[in-house]
């Protein structure tokens, strides 16, 4: 998916977007973040052509969206919105398979798919016959996500899907979504104004303000080498815990595996440095073995001193940061 110089102008010369360009690679979890009214939702709605750009081009699946039939385009993109927008007159089953129904998929197949989807979002089959009003906020949003997955789209766009949930439910759903992303390998374009959420979820993020894209990069890149004063200010609010949380173990300077001093606690590469630090503290050790997700293969060693050095550099304002 790519955006090229996308501009959106409303009547009376109000500019919602000014020359926004960026790309999202396949399999990425890309967060668009910025204060309200910065144009991130506008940008998102252009992906499935609910809005049309005034100028510029948008490519989805390598093809200009203008060349797509809007209906076919929308059916090939999963769409989740903040208000969830479940159909109150349809059961959970019918809600989840709505896209399939309008595509004319036979009922038997839809039934089957609904059961699979419930498994994916971790709800049991008793939910099939329920109506949205009988669900809690978190369950509704899960169904909303399942609905977006129904037609097995490669790309899913989400507009602040967890904005209306309480903190605990939101964190839980974020974890589940990360897990889903890892398992299903979908490309996700995620709009949020919650910095913590963006840093936690995204593989890359784009910071927007006033209709402009100020910086695009991986969380630790943006944190450690902010391309714009606003990005620095916006991202720098959380202090060092935020930095630790935003950087994954795999992105930190790791040491080559040597002789291990006895048994070391381990940490997966995808975990955050905050998590790594927690494990160090809990085990009262200065060294962690870093392992690959799934296989458990040892990749390297993370030393407490390296963590400190990294934070030191951040606090000193040294803007150069390279992965060892």
């Amino acid at each position: 998916m790519a955006f090229q110089e996308v501009t959106k102008e409303y009547a009376r010369g109000v500019r919602a977007l000014e020359g926004v360009s960026f790309e999202v690679e396949e399999g990425e979890f890309f967060c668009l973040i910025g204060p309200s009214g910065c144009g991130k939702t506008t940008l998102l709605k252009m992906v499935n052509r609910l809005l049309e750009p005034t100028s510029g081009r948008i490519f989805v699946y390598g093809q200009d969206v203008q060349a797509w039939d809007p209906i076919a385009l929308r059916r090939s993109i999963g769409y989740v919105i903040q208000q969830i927008g479940l159909f109150p007159h349809l059961t959970v089953e019918e809600n989840m398979t709505y896209v399939l129904a309008i595509m004319g998929v036979p009922l038997q197949v839809r039934r089957q798919r609904a059961r699979e989807l419930l498994g994916v979002i971790g709800l049991d089959e008793s939910y099939l016959r329920r109506f949205p009003r009988e669900l809690s906020g978190g369950e509704r949003q899960r169904v909303g996500v399942a609905r977006a997955l129904a037609a097995d789209p490669k790309l899913i766009v989400m507009d602040e899907p967890f904005g209306a949930l309480d903190q605990i439910t939101r964190m839980k759903l974020q974890d589940e979504l990360l897990e889903l992303h890892r398992k299903l390998k979908k490309t996700i374009l995620f709009v949020t104004h919650d910095l913590e959420e963006a840093l936690k979820l995204s593989t890359r993020l784009g910071v927007m303000r006033g209709g402009r894209m100020l910086g695009v990069g991986r969380p630790h890149e943006l944190l450690l080498t902010p391309p714009d004063p606003f990005v620095e200010e916006f991202l720098g609010r959380g202090g060092i815990i935020q930095v630790l949380r935003a950087i994954r173990v795999g992105d930190a300077p790791l040491r080559k595996t040597q002789e291990l001093p006895g048994t070391c606690p381990s940490v997966p590469v995808s975990a955050s440095l905050e998590d790594a630090l927690r494990r160090m503290v809990l085990a009262a050790r200065r060294t962690l073995v870093v392992t690959e997700d799934g296989t458990g293969r040892v990749v390297g060693i993370l030393e407490f001193e390296d963590l400190c050095r990294l934070l030191h550099r951040y606090l000193e304002g040294k803007l150069s940061f390279t992965c060892a």
Partner: protein, 209 residues
Amino acid sequence: MAFFIRVLLLAVERKSLVLSSLREHVVISLLACLFIALCGVPLGILIARFRRVAFWVIATTGVLYTIPALALFGFMIPLFGIGLRPTLFALFIYGLLPLVRNTYVGITTVDPAIVEAAKGMGSTDWQLLWRVQIPLALPVIVAGLRTVVVMTISYGHPLPPSSVRGVWGCSSSVASPLTIPSSSCLGVSWSLHLPLGLMGCSLSLKGGS
């Protein structure tokens, strides 16, 4: 008490007339409701789609609704004469407003988030209408229809000028024999309307969602 007994006796005495009038009244009310539903709902859907004309269409049905019944007959007797056609036409005109307006309001007040979700998932306009907007607007549309049914039953009475013979509906059974004392006549007329009106009311209260 004596009054009610006289009413009852009158009704029994003219049983066949009362029954045939009752039948006519039911038929004419149902016919009118049918026409109103067939035109009103599609019209409401259309103006929900083309909102620019919505104001004018609803205003027009509103103006039609304000025409006094008697005045309307002044217009229609030269045009249609008397009988079934003008009665149906008048009922149609009066019944249009509640149904068109309710249909329009029902469809346009469906939660925009739901409409956006349906659109964003790739519904065609037709699918959006049939699968989302109409089902969600149905309670409001049906409420309009119930109003129309009650209104149509009650309006069946004053429409045909009572001094004209050959008009349709319950009023004719009262009006045709001019020799009968008028208070009793009205009593019969009302006692005929009452059960119909109650039927209409019970329809409109049932499942009043």
